[in-house]
Amino acid sequence: MRPLGLVLTASILAAASVSSAQQPLPTVDTNLVVRGVPIGKVFEKFRPQLSAYFKEIEAEGDYANYSVPPSKSFEQGGR
């Protein structure tokens, strides 16, 4: 029989892991509006190019200036 403390710790860790997996990454502001101008839509017109670029730099680990893996994060904004 396993000690109760160990079981509880394992349960908490498992719950935290599920929670972090479900946590959406921050993503670009697709609905950005600046003083009535839908700037987000301007950027979104270039989503295919941006998507390809982010995939490239993320695959090669070349994204030091980003706070999150940019491709995974960017794709969430396109849903």
């Binding site: 670009v28 101008v37 941006l50 670029y53 200036n65 994060s73």
Partner: protein, 272 residues
């Protein structure tokens, strides 16, 4: 497709174009880098990425050839290893065969103005990416802000896109000088320039330089502050691949211009 213009409208467009051309020519004389951009693009789309070249300085080349295995341009005196994939170098050379610069601009309506570049080409797309990333910081829009780390956590000031005076920002990359070390030719990067220009929206949706505002040195304070930040942290922003690529493109463009000056057929030099 654009609707046929009426005769009156055609005359009005021609008159405006003629007046604009005079202004562009005058601006080109004393407008510094902005003047060079204005002259190159005929005063249109004064924003985005501008890859400038300078007057050629390389000595006459001997036995020039392209080594596809080494991805290098080789002469008796030096070897230049392409800093970009051969397909991109070939595209840049085809453009420089006809003009001295490369330019691409994302407009505020989401269209792309390309000067001599093929739409959806690798070079054009990468230039547009660089414009989107740098332009977002320079104008403080914040589209990428949730995922991008600005240098020292800087929060860009937001430009007002519906203010009385409109502005465009362009980012100028240039190769400053050549070095030959142990037979290898390399380029030293010039300092990045971030330049804002007052603009006027045209009836067809394109933007042109606002020469009256330029004469009065009208500037946007938010863009000026953001531009100062970018320039103060140039090394940081050059860590971005798209920005590094702009310098590499400018270096290849410079070499292309050098070789064109020496009557080399640069259009067919690099076979991807």
């Amino acid at each position: 497709m654009r609707a046929p213009a009426s005769t009156e409208r055609r005359f009005a467009i021609l008159a405006a174009a003629a007046a604009g051309l005079v202004a562009v020519c005058a601006f080109a004389q004393d407008g510094g880098t902005a003047g060079a951009v204005g002259a190159a693009t005929g005063g249109s789309a004064p924003g985005g990425i501008f890859l400038q070249t300078r007057a050629p300085v390389l000595s006459p080349v001997k036995n020039l050839r392209y080594d596809s295995a080494a991805r290098a341009i080789v002469t008796d005196d030096w070897t230049y290893v392409l800093p970009v994939p051969p397909a991109r170098a070939a595209e840049i050379m085809k453009v420089i065969a006809k003009q001295d610069f490369l330019a691409a601009d994302v407009s505020t309506v989401g269209d792309a103005a390309l000067f001599g570049l093929t739409r959806n080409s690798e070079v054009a797309n990468r230039m547009l990416i660089a414009d989107l990333l740098l332009g977002d910081i320079a104008k403080g829009y914040g589209y990428f802000a949730p995922i991008y780390k600005t240098a020292e956590g800087y929060k860009p000031r937001q430009y007002n896109p519906i203010g009385r005076q409109q502005f465009a920002v362009f980012f100028v990359f240039v190769s400053q000088s050549w070095q030959i070390d142990a037979g290898r030719l390399t380029s030293k990067a010039g300092k990045l320039e971030v330049i804002q220009t007052p603009t006027i929206r045209q009836a067809d949706g394109t933007r042109r330089f606002d020469f009256d505002a330029l004469k009065k040195s009208v500037v946007d304070d938010a863009i000026a502050e953001n531009a100062r930040h970018i320039l103060a942290h140039e090394d940081y922003y050059r860590r971005e691949r798209a920005v590094r690529d702009m310098q590499s493109f400018a270096d290849v463009a410079q070499l292309a211009r050098e070789l064109r000056q020496q009557s080399v057929d640069i259009s067919g030099l690099v076979n991807p």
